[in-house]
């Protein structure tokens, strides 16, 4: 037997054994965390998959949701998300630009940051009440998709602001200085140099925010409807949404085949996970190349 040139002392063996034990525990913990997620996905897939099909995805419901499809709720979700995007993107990126690029440190800036942090901590149902009383009642929008989209837009605003501010602050100082040293105004530097450089980060934040908005029922609880008798589906109609559909169909429709709920849940999950993938993947600088 060859002599181990560096020697394997009992102390070393003991340390290696402890390390192996430690790794085993960590692996176990990681596995335990993953298990519920895998189980949940498996269950939703197993029970939801059979009902999926063109009719389920696209057609309107029949027999008080017990047959037909969830098409209006899918479209309604997309409409709400688009509306929320229209609210949160300009407001959020604007606020982030102000905080990262224009604001001088001081009480005003600190106050804005506290307010943004506070918004992030407000429970979704409170947004629901607030949105209803402000947009539906005080502003007279009523129980409409417009009011719902505004509420969801405000709900995700902190996520968008935080992500965009981080992305903007992450742009190396030299780029901003280079633009300013060439005689750019702050706005010109922001628009042509900082924003394009921060775009991947902003895009991730927005996708995450939309994923969250897609999954929330509480903020639109007081506006959404479970189904629509006639045509409709614009910003001025009562919104239908997958998340609200799941909540209401499960609690208010006796005798609803549970597979239909799982089908809707599967569609919602796919939508949310698609947005998440967009947030995490994204990749690549998004700056446009202009031709001379």
């Amino acid at each position: 037997m060859p002599v181990a040139p560096l020697g394997t002392t009992p102390g070393l063996r003991r340390r290696l054994r402890r390390q192996a034990l430690g790794f085993a525990l960590l692996t176990g913990a990681a596995g335990a965390v993953a298990l519920p997620g895998i189980r949940l996905l498996g269950e939703v897939l197993r029970r939801g998959w059979p009902v999926l099909g063109p009719e389920f995805l696209l057609a309107p419901p029949r027999d008080f949701l017990r047959a037909g499809g969830i098409g209006p709720a899918v479209l309604g979700t997309l409409l709400l998300l688009l509306g929320a995007l229209g609210v949160a993107l300009p407001l959020g990126v604007g606020a982030a630009l102000y905080l990262a690029h224009y604001a001088r440190p001081g009480p005003v800036t600190a106050g804005i940051r506290v307010a943004v942090g506070g918004l992030a901590a407000v429970p979704p149902i409170v947004y629901g009440l607030f949105g209803f009383s402000l947009f539906s009642v005080a502003m007279g929008l009523g129980r409409t998709a417009a009011a719902g989209a505004l509420t969801l837009g405000i709900l995700v605003l902190p996520t968008v602001i935080t992500a965009a501010e981080e992305a903007l602050a992450g742009v190396p100082r030299e780029y901003r200085e280079a633009a300013l040293a060439l005689g750019a105004s702050r706005w010109q530097a922001a628009r042509r140099v900082l924003l394009p450089l921060a775009l991947p980060g902003i895009r991730s934040g927005v996708a995450l925010a939309l994923a969250r908005a897609a999954g929330e029922a509480a903020p639109i609880l007081f506006m959404a409807a479970l189904f629509r008798a006639g045509p409709g589906g614009g910003l001025g109609d009562r919104p239908l949404a997958l998340a609200y559909h799941l909540y209401a169909a499960a609690t208010q429709v006796p005798g609803l085949p549970p597979e239909r709920l799982y089908g809707a849940a599967l569609v919602l999950l796919a939508l949310v996970m698609g947005l998440m993938a967009l947030a995490l993947g994204g990749g690549g600088g998004g700056w446009p190349e202009r031709r001379p």
Binding site: E177, A181, L182, G183, R291, P292
Partner: protein, 252 residues
């Protein structure tokens, strides 16, 4: 006697309570290369950045004293900082081309100034890339991303970008410290050619570089301008003991 581009009179700068520049007085002659040397943190970069008011961007900075550009105080309240920065360009330590095409990088400044005509932009871009010796290397790929260039090419592109707004002065903040020796030599050659038309103020960590390219050298230490004079004199016959200690490698 040569005219002075900048005259600086008793300039003090504070970062909050930190006294970063202590009574700098000097004259920077036009169409010469002026180098600043000194150990890290001595204030040479800070001083350079007072010449185009780049320190304005840093919260808590206060400036006292005068910086005259062609006899006008650039810290006077009615001075347009944007116009000042078009006259006094800047090249930074790390090459920082914008994430745009090579063409758009050089055209960035002229477009800010309102040049829209394509032929005019093409002419400016061509001339500026020619002036920095980059034209032959990039003429076939002006639409390609500037980020695909090598570090030395990127830095020359940044100089071209700076030339495109037709400045009178070019400030360079350790422009070769991120480059290899070959790329550094190209930048130094370029600086010597540029001084026929531009006043160049360069901060450098390398005393050899200052000796190779500058006409005048200033030695900074702890926020003071210890000595300023013709480069040959400063390196061979310094008046101040601290300058001699620094250039002979006794500290720093």
């Amino acid at each position: 006697m040569s005219e002075n581009k900048f005259e600086v009179k008793d300039l003090h700068l504070y970062y909050g309570s930190f006294h970063a520049l202590k009574g700098i007085t000097m004259a920077i002659p036009a169409r010469r290369v002026v180098a600043f040397i000194g150990p890290s943190g001595c204030g040479k970069s800070t001083f350079l950045r007072t010449l185009n008011r780049m320190n304005d961007l840093i919260p808590g900075v206060r400036v006292q004293g005068q910086v005259l550009l062609d006899g006008r105080d650039i810290y006077a309240p009615d001075v347009d900082v944007v116009a000042l920065r078009q006259r006094v360009g800047m090249v930074f330590q790390r090459p920082n081309p914008f994430p745009m095409s090579i063409f758009d990088n050089v055209a960035y400044g002229p477009r800010l100034l309102g040049v829209r005509d394509r032929n005019a932009l093409r002419r400016i871009v061509g001339e500026c890339l020619e002036a920095v010796g980059l034209w032959d290397e990039v003429r076939s790929r002006l639409d390609a991303s500037a980020l695909g260039l090598s570090g030395g090419q990127q830095q020359r592109l940044c100089i071209a970008r700076c030339l495109a707004v037709e400045p009178e002065v070019i400030l360079m903040d350790e422009p070769t410290s991120a480059l290899d020796p070959v790329a550094t030599a190209k930048i130094e050659d370029l600086i010597l050619r540029l001084k026929e038309r531009y006043t160049i103020v360069i901060v450098t960590h390398s005393m050899q570089q200052a000796a190779r390219i500058s006409d005048y050298t200033g030695f900074f230490l702890n926020g003071e301008l210890v000595e300023f004079g013709p480069t040959g004199t400063l390196f061979t016959n310094p008046r101040d003991q601290r300058t001699e200690d620094y250039i002979t490698g006794r500290f720093g």
